[in-house]
């Protein structure tokens, strides 16, 4: 008992070390939140550019650029992308590492989100677009009122997976010196030579986070359910 208490004391209380964890949790949440947001915005935008090209033949160049972006991002490890952004692209800039982290994970997620939405659009009976066209609705209106809502309902579970994957992936941000949760745990353990509590706490926080996210996604899924006609 005394030993466990001692370990707990060393990990959290001595020198106010719990503050590291709170900092870590804060940065993990900030990075996760904003990169999810950025990923969704980028992903939806890219998926629509590519779909617009597919449907109308217009915007060839922009659509090709999007293809290349998706291909490159999906074909290289996230850690490598993070290091390239941090050590090469923003090497001389004064951008805070947090921002670089958000950019990396957002840009990374955008490619996956774009693919998920593409599968969503492609899964919708092309008759829905044809019906919309015969009613005089153009591409954007058809997308906004018919295709996108139906696709969103269908891909919601896949989107949830991507978001949870992304949240967990932010744990590599420590590599470029961002003190997010894992890095905080690492710093403490390297002082106490005791990995038990720091890692357990990190695990619990991640589990809690992903649990809450999956509940939120489940709720959204139920709300959208009437759309999926089976």
């Amino acid at each position: 008992m005394g030993e466990i208490w001692d370990s707990f004391y060393q990990t959290f209380i001595f020198e106010d070390r719990y503050l590291y964890f709170l900092e870590g949790i804060k940065f993990t949440l900030i990075i996760a939140f904003f990169s999810i947001l950025l990923g969704l915005i980028l992903g939806v935008f890219i998926s629509i550019v590519r779909d617009f090209h597919k449907q109308t033949g217009k915007w060839f160049l922009l659509s090709k650029i999007c293809d290349i972006y998706v291909y490159v991002i999906r074909g290289t490890p996230t850690l490598l992308q993070l290091m390239i952004l941090y050590y090469v692209i923003f090497k001389t800039s004064t951008l805070s590492p947090i921002i670089v982290g958000i950019l990396t994970f957002g840009i990374n997620s955008g490619a996956y989100v774009a693919e998920i939405f593409r599968a969503g659009y492609d899964g919708i009976d092309k008759g829905q677009r044809e019906a919309s066209k015969t009613l005089g609705l153009n591409y954007l209106k058809t997308m906004r009122y018919i295709i996108f809502p139906q696709a969103l309902a269908k891909i919601f579970p896949a989107l949830g997976n991507e978001i949870i994957t992304l949240v967990k992936e932010t744990s590599i941000a420590g590599y470029v010196g961002i003190v997010e949760l894992i890095k905080a745990a690492d710093i403490i353990s390297s002082r106490t030579y005791d990995y038990f509590f720091p890692l357990i706490i990190a695990a619990i926080v991640y589990l809690l986070l992903t649990f809450i996210l999956s509940k939120v996604m489940k709720y959204g899924e139920r709300k959208l359910n009437h759309v999926v006609s089976g």
Binding site: T134, L135, L137, Y145, H226, S229
Partner: protein
């Protein structure tokens, strides 16, 4: 003249699906197109509203060449009713009906809703206005699809086998709605295998086979005194 189709050819890859179609359609005609499976009936219909791009030849609409630009400018005046309904799955019945006329600024939201309700009463589905398509029967879906096209005040409606996905007991309700609509001053072109319906509905019948119009005429001549072997054969096969 509403439509003038000249030397229309449509190929998918190397196969010619429509081979030199010439056709003139006056306003307010009620046309039935018959023909065996794969003869190009759907493709012809789909060329008439640019769902398919003709490979060569031309289509004139009110004397103007029907291209993307013209199609855009007539906004929904060429309605279509599909074999599998194609109601918008994510929208309620009332939203299915009002979305396009409101977005196209044909009428205000309020006008659209009251017009939609009038139509819903006409087809006895006034209590379904907030239902989603998945909660309707096939016959109900198709009747809603028909009034959805009417909401746009169309000049012409193209029907591609509107009853062939339906259970037999629902075919009647859809055909009688089409007959009701045919009293309006709307040009209607219907691909169907329902000959009894055609007898009652058509002012002109067109028989297609292998991508060509083989024979056309009024229903009396087409059904009672077919001139070509192929039409005689076709009629005896489906009766």
């Amino acid at each position: 003249m509403l439509y003038q189709v000249k030397k229309l050819v449509k190929k998918f890859g190397n196969t010619s699906v429509l081979k030199n179609i010439n056709l003139e359609i006056e306003e307010n005609e009620k046309i039935v197109i018959i023909g065996p499976s794969g003869s190009g009936k759907s493709t012809l219909l789909r060329c008439l509203n640019l769902l398919e791009k003709p490979t060569s030849g031309s289509i004139y609409y009110h004397g103007h060449r029907l291209d993307d630009k013209l199609y855009k400018s007539i906004q929904g005046k060429i309605g279509m009713v599909f074999q599998n309904y194609q109601l918008f799955d994510n929208l309620t019945v009332i939203d299915n009906l009002t979305l396009a006329p409101v977005l196209n600024k044909l009428m205000s939201k309020e006008e659209a809703i009251s017009k939609a309700r009038r139509y819903l009463r006409q087809i006895h589905l006034e209590d379904k206005e907030n239902s989603y398509p998945m909660d309707l029967s096939g016959g109900q879906k198709q009747r809603v699809a028909i009034i959805r096209s009417l909401m746009m005040n169309p000049e012409v409606i193209l029907f591609d086998e509107p009853t062939s996905a339906l259970d037999p007991e629902m075919i009647g309700e859809v055909l009688s709605l089409i007959l009701e609509v045919s009293r309006e001053k709307i040009t209607m072109i219907v691909v169907t295998h329902e000959l009894n319906f055609a007898q009652e509905f058509a002012t002109r019948v067109i028989f297609m086979d292998h991508g060509k119009i083989i024979e056309e005429g009024d229903k009396e001549q087409m059904f009672k005194h077919p001139r070509t072997n192929r039409l005689q054969q076709f009629l005896s096969n489906i009766q």
